[in-house]
């Protein structure tokens, strides 16, 4: 649990986006990363060598989230144009467009078999879209939220959504139950711990909250950063030892998972850090910011 474990050295700066970068995501093996932003493009990078590989253009408005399948063959992305795009990675073509959200789409994720895309929208709904069939209708609409859904996470059998109405709702497909954990504060972003037992929720009162998924208990609160008006990502490190998240002042914070102390914090960007993503295996992290850069951090 020393400070050395936490990445703090800038390894690469990925420049190319014009305007704010809204999300940066590692792929499943951590060799590549994807970013998307206000310039309506999605970009594929090799963060370790710092090179830009490909640009995907088709969105009509800003791209808010992107996710890639575990086999790196398909992408899904969503954004302000209310559509979810299902891309072929290698050709860069849009295979399918899913329309149906009545508002901007905030987040999107593939399921385990990359057969379903689940999207979270400003229209207070989660929608599941089928990638296998040719139907463009959602196969499931979950509209029990009472405000914009900001973030979505998927496990093997559950769909978890975090919403501005302050709830984190888990939809268990296996038993057909919805479990709602009301945090009382608008939830910006949720992320699962690597063991899948906890949810880290970033709330708009500048607090990250760690919830036990089975009991719904609040395990820990992490404070110190600023998160009041932007959608900022948070995540756990690959070892689940630390919690990390960006701040609106351009800082990155690392907290100890257990005692919630700030292990490390440094200024990473000149502006709001919109997104953080942690390497699935190594101690490596990418951060994206409104200043248009993506930075790769290593220990």
């Amino acid at each position: 649990m020393s400070e050395l474990e936490v990445p703090g050295k800038e390894a690469n700066v990925l420049k190319g986006h014009e305007g704010a970068v809204l999300a940066a995501r590692f792929n499943s093996d951590g060799n590549y990363c994807l970013s998307c932003g206000k310039d309506r493009t999605i970009r594929l990078w090799n963060p370790h060598r710092g090179i830009h590989i490909k640009t995907y253009k088709s969105h009509a408005r800003e791209v808010r989230d992107v996710h890639v399948t575990p086999d790196n063959s398909k992408l899904c992305s969503c954004g302000g144009d209310r559509q979810i795009f299902y891309w072929d990675v290698s050709t860069g073509r849009v295979i399918r467009k899913f329309r149906g959200h009545d508002g901007e789409v905030n987040a999107v994720k593939f399921n385990e078999y990359s057969s379903v895309v689940v999207s979270a929208g400003y229209d207070q709904s989660l929608r599941a879209w089928d990638c296998r069939s040719h139907s463009t209708e959602p196969i499931q609409i979950i509209d029990s939220f009472s405000d914009s859904v900001m973030s979505v996470c998927l496990t093997k059998s559950e769909i978890i959504g975090g919403s501005v109405d302050g709830t984190v709702r888990t939809f268990d497909i296996r038993i057909g139950r919805e479990i709602s954990d009301d945090l009382g504060q608008p939830v910006n972003c949720i992320s699962l711990s690597n063991d899948g037992n906890c949810i880290l929720a970033s709330c708009l009162d500048s607090t990250l909250r760690l919830l036990d998924r089975t009991s719904g208990e609040l395990l820990q609160e992490y404070k110190g950063h600023t998160c009041k008006s932007y959608k900022l990502d948070c995540c756990l490190t690959n070892t689940d030892a630390h919690v990390t998240g960006g701040s609106e002042d351009g800082f990155i914070y690392f907290w100890d998972l257990v005692d919630a102390s700030v292990v490390s914090s440094f200024r990473a960007h000149s502006s709001v850090v919109t997104s953080v993503s942690y390497h699935p295996k190594d101690s490596c992290m990418i951060t994206a910011s409104v200043d248009g850069t993506i930075r790769v951090w290593k220990t």
């Binding site: 014009e18 305007g19 704010a20 206000k38 310039d39 309506r40 009509a60 408005r61 800003e62 302000g80 901007e104 399921n111 385990e112 078999y113 057969s115 379903v116 599941a128 089928d130 296998r132 040719h134 463009t136 196969i139 499931q140 979950i142 029990s144 009472s146 093997k156 059998s157 984190v168 939809f171 268990d172 497909i173 296996r174 038993i175 057909g176 139950r177 919805e178 479990i179 709602s180 954990d181 009301d182 945090l183 009382g184 504060q185 909250r209 919830l211 009991s215 719904g216 208990e217 609040l218 932007y230 351009g250 000149s270 502006s271 709001v272 409104v290 200043d291 248009g292």
Partner: protein, 994 residues
């Protein structure tokens, strides 16, 4: 689809405008390329090249035979003379719109309608029109580069109107105003001379004027003519000059459409440029699109068809330093202007045309300082009136005097005395002054009957003060010790702001049933973890009796079980004081627990000796309490039912948990439906909320007033909402229950249940009365308004009525659970349980009574063989037994009770008929409420063992729980759920029976 709508079948060829055709074509193309491909085959539509649908239903013409359902020729229904095509076979018949128009239409179209002839065309309108028509015709014949009709503006009248001609003959020239000739011949002469003298130069000026006009643009070309121009001695009308196109934009494109301020700027710049001849590079990055904040995300634009919204503004722009390449142009010093161009000058200085900015102005904004508040000002008004009565009391009463003989005078005196007593001395003085001359009012000034008046006045005052003292008395006793803001507010009859309580109750109200149960069990039977500590602390050291009571209270609170009646051990205490003491105890207990919980034993010892008044503790708690509360509140977990789509399960490679269950029925959209059933579910919700609110209150020990008020409000709400629950069922019965035997059944059962109803109503009333009394006393004590008891009786009647209805449906429905509690009465008993210990007993008694009744009812209506003990725990068994019983019945139909048999069979029949769904649903909602109560009840009685009991009661229980919470946010959904679940249950049952 709107395709259907604009796809009528026409006879003849419709006259089509060009833009219509193109738009339809566009649509067709868009559809063909876009959606159609992705649609499945049966959803695709065949359209012709112009986007019209080829195939219709039979009633809209079948498939489009021939030429779109018209006469089968290309020309369509052409009203033409028959011309043999034998000779001129190859001749192409040229049809035009004109062939098909009526005379007047044609005249309209061609402009051949009646108009002024050229001769009398004073203003040249007809000439202009004609010219335009001519041009149009020409244009049609020889196609030009610009398709479509010529814009009006391009065609100008070729001839001059007769009016113009006349004017010209009279000496008017273009560009001059038509003005009456000046009577002053001298002036005329002078003008003529000057004209001759300045002939050349004035021409020049005119030209310049024209130029300035052209620059100015078309908007203000005419209106902005200077009217009082000194240099041009005669006024002139403008020569209408079109704006020459000087820029490189496309035709009709106006870059300053949304930003007129830039037009000004540009114009001034242009004119400046023209004058000086020097070109200056300026940034063209001025906003071409007028945008609200100018914060468009940098680096890219937006699609041509999309509009800017609020969300397109770059929220991140503050942090993103985009280098602005805009070059600020330095304003040139204004050049020397000739007087002939005052307008340009005005434009550049930015004032109205023809005006100049004054170097000094008289106008000054006057500012007044706010009035100075004197130092000794107290911002609250003192009423001298009522207080007066108080100190007057000290006066010795005037001697009793017999009333004067005159009856009228007596009445007058008494009336005045009452008024004076009510309104104060001021009234007396006034009436004295007013009626000085009136002999009748002599008694005021010491005349006849003054003694009697004085006596009467004293009596009245006495009466009034007694009344007010009664009210104040209670308040004073509690507030004498310490005058806090709250107690002062109480005296003044103010309602305290409900700050935390409100939030708490509302947020807790949204809690899940599961949580409710936890909470209930917490209070009722929690074997306290803190039991060890509170023995050591004695918050009421000074009063050993009270301390003893307090300890007993704690014991009960933490060791659970039901409280005995004489729990407070102070039968000699008044109800109100007991209630207050209980609140104190709650506060103390809370403080103790908190001190232990938050490791703040220090805090407690500080407060240990203090008086736990309800207000004081609240203050002492302050923010940390709220902190704790929020911590306690969040996160809150709720569990709801959710049905994943089968496809979703398949894609997630999971087994559908609802596999085999029927698909959810589409929601009822009928208006009647929504109207009828919302009240029901809303009521449920309310009940829940009330209970939760109370629950929460007693746990967190918040302000008393808030809660009692809350209770009162909720109570009212419940009462209001109970009202129209039963009517719809009646309606449906009236409509749907045509089976006579069914009717007979219900009525007989009604009779059977009548006594039970009576008892229940009685208990309800009892509870209510007690509750009302208590609330009233509490309210009085705290200086609160107690809602009048008026609606009680009506509510009673109604609830009993609703009960009846419920019973009706209950009987009709075999799946109904046995317990029938009146929701409102439950609310009351619940509230009482939390509020006052000594009322608890009554509530419980009422409850057990009810249970007995219920057992009785069960035995009667269902005919069950089970022990009919009236112990509370029995209820679980009842439920289970009933299930078992149903099964056994299914196996041995002969053993069925007569009643049951007929009922169930009719029920089966009904369930087959889809049209009867409503009724079942209403029954189901009732069953839900009852199961709710049962749940609550059980959790209380069983306490910790509820885990196991929950397992037992199985799905129905879970459903009901789910229900409750769904019903809160959307009544429609809950209905729909209940319907579905109900049917599921039914189906299961039927399976078992088979």
């Amino acid at each position: 689809m709107d395709l259907d709508e604009d796809d009528f079948v026409f006879f003849g060829t419709p006259i089509e405008r060009e833009e219509e055709i193109t738009s339809r074509k566009k649509k067709a193309v868009a559809e063909a390329s876009g959606q159609l491909r992705t649609l499945p085959v049966w959803k695709q539509e065949v359209t012709d090249e112009e986007g019209r649908r080829r195939f219709h239903g039979a009633f809209t013409g079948g498939f489009s035979a021939g030429y779109y359902n018209t006469v089968g020729s290309k020309e369509g229904w052409a009203p033409q003379k028959f011309v043999s095509s034998r000779k001129n076979r190859a001749e192409v018949k040229q049809q035009s719109i004109l062939n098909f128009l009526d005379e007047d239409e044609r005249a309209d179209l061609e402009g051949q309608s009646l108009g002024t002839s050229m001769q009398f065309d004073t203003f040249g309108f007809t000439a202009g029109e004609l010219a335009r028509k001519q041009a149009e015709k020409e244009q049609q014949q020889r196609p030009s580069a610009i398709p479509g009709p010529i814009p009006d503006e391009l065609v100008l009248p070729a001839t001059e109107s007769i009016g113009v001609k006349l004017l010209l003959k009279m000496g008017w020239r273009h560009g001059h105003s038509i003005k009456d000739s000046r009577p002053n011949s001298l002036y005329d002469a002078r003008r003529e001379a000057r004209k001759a003298f300045l002939a050349f130069s004035s021409d020049d000026a005119k030209a310049q004027l024209a130029e300035s006009e052209s620059v100015q643009g078309n908007l203000e070309s005419i209106t902005e003519q200077p009217t009082n121009d000194d240099v041009q001695s005669y006024q002139s009308t403008p020569v209408y000059v079109r704006n020459p196109k000087q820029d490189l934009y496309g035709l009709g494109f106006d870059p300053y459409k949304h930003a007129p301020e830039f037009r000004e700027k540009k114009r001034s710049r242009m004119s400046g440029k023209r004058e000086t001849g020097n070109r200056k590079a300026y940034s063209t990055k001025d906003n071409l699109f007028g945008f609200k904040s100018g914060n468009v995300a940098p680096g890219f634009g937006i699609g041509a068809l999309e509009e800017f919204d609020a969300e397109d503004e770059d929220v991140y722009a503050a942090g993103f330093d985009f280098v602005d390449t805009y070059v600020q142009e330095v304003e040139e010093p204004s050049r020397l202007m000739t007087d002939s161009k005052p307008k340009l000058l005005a434009k550049e200085t930015g004032v109205l045309p023809g005006f100049r900015v004054a170097s000094n102005s008289d106008y000054q904004l006057e500012r007044f300082d706010p009035p100075v508040i004197p130092k000794d000002f107290v911002p609250c008004h003192k009423f001298p009136g009522p207080l007066e009565t108080n100190y007057r009391l000290a006066d010795s009463p005037p001697p009793e005097v017999p009333p004067p003989e005159d009856n009228n005078l007596k009445l007058l005196i008494e009336g005045v005395a009452t008024l004076v007593a009510r309104c104060g001395k001021l009234y007396e003085d006034l009436s004295k002054e007013k009626n000085q001359s009136n002999p009748l009012f002599n008694f005021l000034t010491g005349g006849n009957g003054h003694d009697y008046y004085a006596r009467k006045l004293w009596e009245e005052r006495q009466k009034r003060t007694d009344q007010s003292r009664q009210q104040v008395d209670v308040k004073l006793s509690s507030s004498m010790r310490k005058m806090t803001a709250e107690s002062r507010g109480k005296i003044l009859g103010e309602r305290p702001l409900e700050r935390s309580i409100k939030d708490l109750s509302s947020s807790v109200a949204s809690a899940e049933g599961i949580q409710l149960q936890f909470n209930l069990s917490d209070t009722f039977t929690e074997p306290a973890s803190s039991s060890g500590l509170h023995e050591a602390v004695k918050p009421f050291k000074d009063d050993p009796a009270k301390q003893e009571r307090f300890e007993r209270f704690l014991k009960e609170k933490y060791q659970g079980g039901l409280r005995s009646t004489d729990s407070s051990g102070s039968s000699n205490m008044s109800e109100a004081s007991r209630a207050r003491e209980r609140l104190d105890f709650e506060a103390a207990a809370e403080a103790i627990q908190k001190g232990q919980w938050g490791k703040e034993s220090k805090h407690f010892s500080a407060t240990g000796g203090m008086q736990f008044t309800s207000g004081g503790v609240e203050q002492a708690k302050g923010t940390e309490a709220e902190d704790l509360i929020t911590k306690k509140m969040f996160p809150k977990r709720e569990e709801l039912q959710w049905r994943p789509a089968p496809v979703l399960c398949k894609r997630f490679d999971l087994i559908d948990p609802y596999m085999g269950k029927p698909a959810p029925a589409p929601r009822m959209r009928s208006k009647i439906d929504t109207l009828i059933f919302t009240s029901d579910s809303a009521k449920e919700t309310k009940v829940e909320e009330t209970i939760i609110a109370n629950r929460d209150f007693s746990m967190l020990q918040s302000d008393v007033q808030g809660i009692s008020q809350d209770v009162a409000n909720k109570e009212n709400e419940v009462e209001v909402e109970v009202e129209n629950v039963e009517r719809p069922v009646d309606l449906y019965k009236a409509i749907f229950s045509d089976d006579s035997d069914d009717e007979g059944e219900t009525t007989s059962l009604n009779k059977v249940e009548n006594p039970e109803k009576k008892i229940e109503a009685a208990t309800t009333t009892l509870n209510r009365l007690i509750a009302g009394d208590f609330l009233e006393s509490l309210g009085k004590e705290l200086g609160l308004e107690v809602p009048p008891d008026l609606p009680q009786s009506t509510n009673m009647a109604k609830t009993s009525a609703s009960q009846k209805e419920a019973a009706n449906t209950n009987v009709g429905d075999s799946n109904i659970l046995p317990v029938k509690n009146n929701p409102s009465s439950t609310v009351f008993s619940e509230t009482l349980n939390h509020e006052v210990p000594h009322n608890r007993k009554i509530a419980i008694e009422g409850r057990s009574e009810k249970n007995e009744v219920i057992h009785g009812k069960l035995a009667k209506s269902v005919g069950i063989y089970m022990e009919t003990g009236s112990t509370e725990n029995n209820l679980d068994k009842v439920d289970l037994e009933k299930r078992v019983h149903e099964d056994s019945k299914a196996k041995t139909p002969s053993s069925r009770h007569k009643n049951w048999n007929s009922n169930s069979s009719s029920e089966d029949e009904r369930s087959r008929k889809q049209s009867r769904r409503h009724r079942r649903r209403s029954g189901d909602s009732d069953s839900d409420s009852s199961s709710d109560h049962r749940d609550r009840y059980r959790s209380r009685s069983k306490g910790r063992k509820k885990e196991s009991s929950r397992e037992k009661s199985g799905s129905s229980r879970r459903h009901s729980k789910h229900h409750k919470h769904r019903s809160r946010d959307s009544p429609g959904r809950s209905r729909y759920d209940s319907d579905r679940e109900h049917r599921e249950a039914k189906r299961e049952k039927r399976k078992k029976r088979d």
